[in-house]
C-alpha cells in the first residue's frame, strides 16, 4: 500500500514534458481561417483539433471538439429565453464557415514544466480529456488522459517512471 502511495505521488510530481506527446507534426492542427469542411474531414478521424493562427508559428487560438461540431450540425433551436449574444453558428443556416467560427477560444492549457498533478486537477475541474501544452502561446505538444493512464499503468508494472524522455 505504501508503495502504491509512493508511486502515485512520484507520478504527480512528474513534469508535463516528461509525458506529453511532442510530435507536434502529428497533432490535429488547423488554421483559424480554414474552411469548415476541413474541420469535418479531420474530425471524421480524430476527436479534437487545435486551432492555430497559422501553421508556421503554431500560435494556439482555440480548440474544436466533436461537441462543437454537434452544436452546428444539429438543427439550431434558439432558446426562447436568450440575453446577450445568441449562439447562431449552424451549418443549416450557413453561419459556420471557418474553423475560427466554431472554435472555443477560451482554451485551458498547461505548460511543459507544469506538474502532472496540476494537469490532472485541470482535467477534473474543466471536464477535459486533453490539454494543449503551450510555451509562449505556441503549441509544443499535447497531454491526453490516455497518455497519463498508460504512463501510470506502466509504472505499476515496474517500468521506470522516466524512461523514454527523448520521445
Amino acid at each position: 500500500m505504501a508503495k502504491q502511495n509512493k508511486l502515485i505521488s512520484d507520478f504527480y510530481e512528474l513534469k508535463v514534458n516528461q509525458i506529453m506527446d511532442r510530435r507536434v507534426w502529428d497533432l490535429p492542427i488547423i488554421e483559424e481561417k480554414d474552411d469548415i469542411h476541413n474541420v469535418l474531414s479531420i474530425l471524421g478521424a480524430r476527436n479534437h483539433i487545435w486551432v492555430v493562427k497559422d501553421k508556421q508559428t503554431k500560435e494556439l487560438v482555440g480548440v474544436i471538439t466533436e461537441h462543437d461540431v454537434l452544436s452546428i450540425l444539429a438543427p439550431k433551436n434558439l432558446p426562447s429565453y436568450v440575453f446577450g449574444m445568441p449562439d447562431i453558428k449552424s451549418i443549416q443556416h450557413g453561419t459556420a464557415k471557418t474553423s475560427g467560427d466554431i472554435m472555443t477560444d477560451k482554451v485551458v492549457t498547461c505548460g511543459p514544466d507544469d506538474k502532472i498533478i496540476g494537469a490532472l486537477n485541470k482535467m477534473v475541474k474543466y471536464n477535459l480529456r486533453r490539454l494543449p501544452v503551450i510555451k509562449d502561446n505556441i503549441l509544443v505538444g499535447e497531454l491526453t488522459l490516455h497518455q497519463l493512464i498508460r504512463k501510470y499503468y506502466a509504472a505499476t508494472q515496474y517500468h521506470p517512471m522516466v524512461e523514454d524522455e527523448e520521445g
Partner: protein, 413 residues
C-alpha cells in the same frame, strides 16, 4: 419588519409568479413568440387578479361577508428586491455572453447601423417627449428606452427566414448586440444628468474613477480573485465569488452614480473574458433564468396597474402616448439604422430590411425604465405612464417585427 404571515404570503405570491411566468411563457413559446412576452403578460394578469380580488376587497353574498386575503405585495419592497436582483442577473448574464473579441470584429456596417439606430430614436424620443409636455429628464429616459434593439427576437426571426448568413442578417445581429451596449452605457450619462451643475463635476469624477478602477484594474486582478475561488474546496465556492463580484460591482457602480445595472454588466463582461467563465455561466443561468429573471418580468408586468387608480381616462392618455412612442420607435430605427446601412454601401431595399430588423425592443428598454424609476428620475404618475408605454412598446414591436421582416424579404426575393 414584515410579520410571519406576510412573509409566507409573499412566498406564495412568488410561487404564483413563477408558475404563471412559466405557464404563460410556454403558451407564447407554442405560439412561436418569445417566452419573455408571456412572462410579462403573466405579470399583467397576476397583477390584475391581485389588484381586483386580493387587495382587501369584501364581498357580500346575501348576509355573508367574504373577505379575501390580501396578496397585494407586488408594490412591496420585498418583491421589488427580488425583481431588482433579477435585473442584475439579466445584465450579468448579458455581459458574460458578450465577447469583447467578437465585438471588436464587428464590421463597419453593423457599427454604422447601430450608431444610426441609437441616435435617431434617441433624438426622436427626446423630441416627442418634450412635445408631449414631459420634462427634459423624462424625455431623455423616453429617448433612451428606444435605443436598444432586442437581439433575441431579431435573431429568431432571421433564423426562421434562413437569412442569417446574408449581409443583412449578419449586419442586423451585429448591430443589435452593439446598440445594447451603447444603450446601457448611455444610461450612465442619463444618471449623471439628475444632479445639479455643481454635482455634475463630482459625478463625472466618480464615474471616471469607477471605470478606471473597475474596468481596467478589474481585468488585471479578476483572474487572481477567481484563482482564489478555485482554491477554496467548498461546494460552489467559485460561484459564490462570482456572485459577490457581481454584487460588489453593482454597489460601487451605484455609489459612483452610474446605476448598479451598469456595474452588473461590466462584472459580467470582465468575468466572461476569463477562461473560467465556462464553469460559472451555467450556474449563474440556473439561478437567474430559474428564479430571479422570471420574477423581474412578472413584476414589470404587474406594474401595468397603477397603485393610485385604474380609471379609463388614465389608460386612454397612456394609450395615445404609447401609440406615439411606438410609431417613433419604428420610424427612428428605420431611418437611423437604414441610413447607417445605406452609408455602409447597402442597397435601398437592404437598408430597409436592416432598419426593420432593428425594430424590436425588450429587455434593455424595460431595464432602463426600471432603473430610472428606482433612481427617482421618474416619479408617479409619469413613471407609471412611461412604464406602461414601455411594456406596450416591447410587446407590440416584438409581435409586429417578424411580419414586417418577412414582408420585406418576400418583396426582394
Amino acid at each position: 419588519m414584515i410579520s410571519t404571515e406576510e412573509f409566507f404570503n409573499i412566498l406564495l405570491l412568488v410561487a404564483a409568479a413563477l408558475i404563471f411566468a412559466r405557464a404563460f411563457g410556454y403558451l407564447f413559446y407554442k405560439l412561436k413568440q418569445p417566452a419573455v412576452i408571456g412572462e410579462i403578460v403573466a405579470g399583467i394578469f397576476l397583477g390584475g387578479v391581485v389588484l381586483f380580488f386580493f387587495s382587501g376587497q369584501q364581498y357580500t353574498v346575501s348576509n355573508y361577508v367574504f373577505t379575501f386575503p390580501r396578496f397585494d405585495y407586488f408594490n412591496g419592497n420585498e418583491f421589488k428586491l427580488l425583481a431588482e436582483i433579477g435585473i442584475l442577473f439579466l445584465l450579468f448574464i448579458s455581459g458574460l455572453e458578450t465577447s469583447i473579441s467578437k465585438l471588436k470584429k464587428t464590421g463597419k456596417a453593423s457599427t454604422l447601423v447601430a450608431i444610426g439606430g441609437v441616435i435617431a430614436p434617441l433624438l426622436l424620443g427626446i423630441f416627442s417627449g418634450i412635445l408631449l409636455n414631459f420634462s427634459m429628464q423624462e424625455s431623455i429616459v423616453i429617448g433612451l428606452i428606444l435605443t436598444a434593439t432586442s437581439v433575441g427576437v431579431t435573431a429568431r426571426t432571421l433564423m426562421d427566414l434562413h437569412v442569417l448568413d446574408t449581409d443583412v442578417g449578419a449586419t442586423i445581429l451585429g448591430a443589435a448586440v452593439i446598440d445594447d451596449v451603447i444603450g446601457i452605457l448611455l444610461l450612465v450619462f442619463a444618471m449623471g444628468l439628475q444632479s445639479t451643475v455643481v454635482n455634475a463635476v463630482w459625478v463625472g469624477v466618480k464615474i471616471a474613477i469607477f471605470f478606471l478602477i473597475f474596468l481596467y484594474l478589474g481585468l488585471k486582478i479578476i483572474d487572481r480573485i477567481l484563482d482564489l475561488g478555485e482554491k477554496i474546496h467548498l461546494p460552489k465556492a467559485f460561484l459564490s465569488i462570482s456572485l459577490s463580484i457581481l454584487l460588489i460591482y453593482s454597489f460601487f457602480a451605484d455609489g459612483a452614480g452610474i446605476s448598479g445595472i451598469v456595474g452588473a454588466f461590466i462584472a459580467g463582461l470582465l468575468i466572461g473574458q476569463n477562461i473560467r467563465s465556462k464553469n460559472i455561466s451555467e450556474d449563474i443561468k440556473t439561478i437567474g433564468y430559474g428564479f430571479f429573471i422570471p420574477i423581474f418580468f412578472v413584476w414589470i408586468g404587474s406594474r401595468f396597474w397603477s397603485e393610485s387608480g385604474t380609471d379609463i381616462s388614465t389608460y386612454a392618455t397612456i394609450g395615445i402616448f404609447a401609440i406615439v412612442v411606438i410609431i417613433v420607435s419604428i420610424i427612428g430605427k428605420i431611418l437611423g439604422s437604414g441610413l447607417g446601412a445605406k452609408l455602409a454601401g447597402m442597397s435601398s431595399a437592404e437598408s430597409l430590411q436592416v432598419g426593420i430588423g432593428m425594430i424590436p425592443r425588450m429587455e434593455v428598454a424595460l431595464i432602463i425604465v426600471a432603473a430610472a424609476i428606482s433612481r427617482g428620475i421618474l416619479v408617479d404618475p409619469v413613471a407609471h405612464q412611461i412604464l406602461v408605454t414601455t411594456i406596450l412598446l416591447s410587446i407590440i414591436t416584438t409581435l409586429i417585427t417578424p411580419f414586417l421582416i418577412k414582408a420585406t424579404f418576400k418583396n426582394v426575393k
